[in-house]
Symmetry: C2
Subunit: 234 residues, 2 copies
């Protein structure tokens, strides 16, 4: 096994064992390199890798620190991973979201504070009558994130956030806008909001199920017709 991979494991162990706590600063490059028995170049590769998944945070001129290691931070890195998936796996991701979103919405109906519910309602009115695709995506993302956050489970929130990442969402919307489904989506968002505001978890769950299933159906149609347009492709 390459020394760099060994270094990654060593640093990982140092964090898991508690030798390095969240927020702690690592020894300087030269020092840590000597301690782990490798060159600075190789150590830097290890640090960079751990940096990509948000475990470490390097600040030039200052030092290298362990991040807070909170679920939202670490799962954030999954967004990066999801970006790599092509259209043919989008439906699989959406299927998972179809499982999680209703559950999160039901939990939100039980746990969200009045203040958060008010903020959620405010989002409904923020869209213009003829919004751009970018505005639609941003509003949709914000709406569902607020609900996921309201579930009270940071892991669930981050996971949904990643699954519904910008890339996937943008593709979905591209399909939707072409069929004028904006109005129906807005109606469903309103229904979900009202169910949460009334603290009716089962109603909220049902509306969320309907909502995601609808998105899935539309996307399936969009991908199907795309296949018809270019059936021999790839």
């Amino acid at each position: 096994m390459p020394v760099t991979d060994v270094a990654i494991d060593k640093i990982k162990d140092m964090i898991i064992s508690g030798e390095l706590a969240p927020g702690d600063r690592l020894p300087k490059e030269a020092e840590l390199a000597q301690r782990l028995g490798l060159s600075r170049s190789s150590l830097r590769e290890a640090v960079k890798a751990l940096c990509l998944i948000r475990v470490l945070d390097v600040r030039q001129g200052d030092g290298t620190y362990v991040t807070s290691l909170e679920p939202n931070l670490l799962l954030d890195a999954m967004t990066f991973v999801v970006d790599f998936h092509r259209d043919d796996t989008v439906l699989d991701f959406l299927a998972v979201r179809r499982i999680l979103e209703p559950a999160a919405t039901a939990m939100a109906a039980l746990h969200m504070s009045d203040e958060d519910i008010a903020e959620l309602g405010a989002m409904l009115g923020e869209l213009e009558d003829a919004p751009t695709v970018e505005a639609l995506v941003a509003n949709d993302l914000q709406f569902h994130r607020k609900i996921a956050d309201g579930s009270g489970n940071p892991v669930l929130c981050s996971l949904l956030d990643s699954l519904s990442g910008p890339t996937t969402r943008a593709r979905v919307w591209r399909g939707l806008t072409q069929e004028g489904a904006v109005a129906k989506t807005r109606e469903q968002h309103t229904a979900i909001y009202e169910a949460i505001a009334a603290h009716e978890p089962e109603l909220a769950r049902s509306w969320a199920t309907v909502h995601v299933a609808g998105v899935e159906q539309w996307l399936r149609n969009a991908l199907g017709s795309a296949d018809e347009d270019a059936p021999a492709a790839s």
Copy 2:
């Protein structure tokens, strides 16, 4: 933004845009470095980072390749991330699993082939009467993975696999064995298997719900009593 991060994005874009397809080989280090306008050292940091999340695969003496980019491979990297979480967030992860597992089990009851079901049944008898903790964990992991795989959704399967990673699972089992709940777990596994074999999705879903909820309850008690043992800690 550091040149290394730019390089990561460049390579990412090359893959997403299709310039580099899964399985393709990257230009050699020196060549790619010149093309991206940086040194080999910095490029190696970028490659190493993308390697950690299983996007690239470097083979010494051969070259650097793009992986298959299949969901299971990319989500595999999440196991690495989950390893960093401490006990206080285990319940959040388990709550998500509580949502996904019943759904996956229900899907498995609909989709699993007779052959796969037979393999699943075989796992039930593989445990000895007084198994070691390691054997328990391995068998449990294998059983649930087989079901997740039977859902037919690779994303769902990989996600469950990561959430129920070795670390989390081991901790759970450590709590369970101390209270002699092995027999009950085995009964529930058998019930889940029989529901899947009978192709009864709702029954399978219910047993899975009961199973995970039971694990969650036991874990909650275990963590609770641990707190009582050392209430002032941290």
